[in-house]
């Protein structure tokens, strides 16, 4: 769910850009460190960004009949770590604005915050929490991916509600309106995305256990399932 170009008032657009900046700077710093330690990472990040971009062009079947695309934030966060997702997300969102006119330059900060910062960090934290609660691998992946997708859209609704509070009910009413409209497409979508991410990890575990082990996502014994 991208906020379109020019939709947010100027103070909000600038504010969200400033709020996203430290995360991007931290991400760039951590990427630089990774590249110094392991030069192969230089190519990996560019390729990963292209993969995320292409993934967002896929059409997901959804229950309400509306077709929508996966955000890939959960998958990316589990594969590459949440810190690296901020710079990758910046590039992907910029490309979506420049190549597809999807999203925009003035709303880049706000979209970055919801899709490449809140989503990935939530996914990584939930995955870790679910594993600590000894839930099965598939259930943990499902929770991480679908809740990350949901939180992304809740953040977008909150951003819109903050920018356009309801004349009578204020922020809360406005938030309910935006969240209500987006819920029609986003809740089935979050479930589809969770299922899809589980199917992806199952296929990876079946056919490419070595790669998955190299990514430190799972510990070896779980791959026999």
């Amino acid at each position: 769910m991208h906020i379109m170009e020019g939709f947010l008032p100027i103070e909000h657009a600038v504010g969200w850009a400033v709020a996203s900046m430290p995360f991007v700077a931290y991400g760039i710093g951590s990427i630089k460190k990774q590249i110094d330690a392991n030069p192969e990472q230089r190519m990996l990040l560019g390729v990963a960004a292209a993969f995320t971009f292409v993934l967002s062009a896929l059409k997901l079947p959804s229950v309400t009949g509306s077709c929508s695309h996966p955000t890939g934030t959960g998958l990316g966060a589990l594969l590459f770590g949440p810190a690296a997702m901020a710079p990758i997300g910046l590039v992907v969102l910029l490309f979506q604005a420049l190549l597809l006119a999807h999203g925009g330059l003035t709303t880049l900060g706000a979209n970055l915050f919801s899709m490449a910062i809140v989503g990935p960090f939530a996914a990584a934290a939930l995955f870790r929490l679910a594993r600590r609660l000894t839930l099965s691998f598939a259930v943990s992946v499902f929770i991480a991916a679908s809740v990350a997708d949901l939180l992304t859209y809740v953040t977008t609704s909150a951003q819109l509600a903050w920018a356009f509070p309801d004349p009578t009910g204020g922020f809360v009413t406005s938030f309910a309106k935006f969240a209500g409209i987006f819920a029609i497409t986003q809740i089935p979508l979050a479930i589809s995305e969770g299922l899809l991410t589980v199917v992806i990890f199952n296929a990876l575990a079946r056919f490419n256990p070595q790669e998955l082990k190299d990514m430190n996502v799972v510990r070896p014994p779980e791959l026999r399932a």
């Binding site: 379109m4 170009e5 020019g6 939709f7 100027i10 760039i28 630089k32 030069p39 192969e40 230089r42 190519m43 990040l45 560019g46 390729v47 990963a48 960004a49 292209a50 993969f51 971009f53 292409v54 993934l55 062009a57 896929l58 079947p61 998958l75 594969l79 710079p87 990758i88 590039v91 992907v92 910029l94 490309f95 604005a97 420049l98 190549l99 597809l100 006119a101 999807h102 925009g104 330059l105 003035t106 819109l160 356009f164 309801d166 004349p167 009578t168 009910g169 009413t173 406005s174 935006f178 409209i181 589809s192 899809l196 199917v199 992806i200 199952n202 296929a203 990876l204 490419n208 190299d214």
Partner: protein, 248 residues
């Protein structure tokens, strides 16, 4: 990709990207500076006219590129126009149109259309590779530029791989039912995920075989008349902003 086709095949392909970006920036400022929806709509008309007539972008293609953005604008404006309130007597929730809501919708959608027209002017006249070169001159962190260049290159490799896989899967009825589609999509994405590591590794080996010492280096594209282009863009952009401020 429609935008790519226009960006490489428009009349202003050889105009300096700095000039085009400057004009688009002025368009953005003008749409935010416009005080009334009518003035903002005038800015929209001027920007689209420049894109259609000046750069020679086909009207049909322009509208097709803008269509998804219109859809988002429509759904968001719907929630701005209606106000959710509870009835004083019965306490039931009710939706009602408010005059301030409609005013808000007019303001926001006019401003949004202006900003969209500026963005479309830039992306439909300037190929991404020129924009990346421009960002390099604006001192964007080297790591981000490298991700962008590699991403742009690998984008087409991945989308070809994706289309091939989707065609092979649908030829085997992989998308016949929703359940099968989910399974096929999972297989497709998993396959592409593995390719991420394989292709990155191949690129690394290829770079090392060519004596790579780390950073990727690029030749800067050169543009004749860059100074004149920028001066013209600054003048016309300034005029646009002045118009938006004076009229409102």
């Amino acid at each position: 990709m429609l935008i790519e086709q226009c960006a490489y095949a428009n009349r202003w392909r050889r105009v300096s990207p700095a000039a085009k970006a400057l004009f688009a920036l002025c368009g953005l400022v003008a749409s935010f500076a416009a005080g009334t929806p009518l003035v903002a709509l005038a800015v929209v008309c001027l920007l689209t006219a420049v894109t259609w007539i000046g750069a020679g972008v086909p009207v049909g293609r322009y509208l097709r590129v803008a269509a998804p953005a219109f859809f988002f604008l429509a759904t968001s404006c719907l929630s701005l126009a209606f106000s959710l309130g509870s009835d004083a007597q019965s306490g039931a929730l009710s939706l009602h149109l408010t005059p301030t809501g409609l005013q808000n919708v007019a303001d926001v959608s006019a401003r949004s259309l202006g900003a969209l027209a500026s963005l479309l002017f830039l992306v439909l006249t300037t190929p991404l590779i020129d924009l990346i070169a421009l960002l390099r001159r604006l001192k964007t962190p080297e790591v981000l530029l490298e991700i962008m260049v590699l991403c742009y290159r690998m984008l087409f490799v991945f989308s070809e791989a994706m289309h091939d896989t989707v065609r092979a899967q649908s030829a085997r009825l992989g998308y016949a039912t929703p359940r099968l589609s989910l399974r096929s999509l999972g297989g497709l994405a998993a396959n592409l995920t593995v390719q991420v590591w394989q292709r990155a590794h191949d690129l690394h080996i290829a770079a090392q075989a060519r004596n790579s010492d780390g950073p990727l280096r690029f030749l800067e594209p050169t543009f004749a008349n860059a100074g004149l282009d920028s001066a013209l863009a600054a003048a016309s952009g300034g005029l646009l902003i002045a118009l938006a401020v004076v009229l409102s």
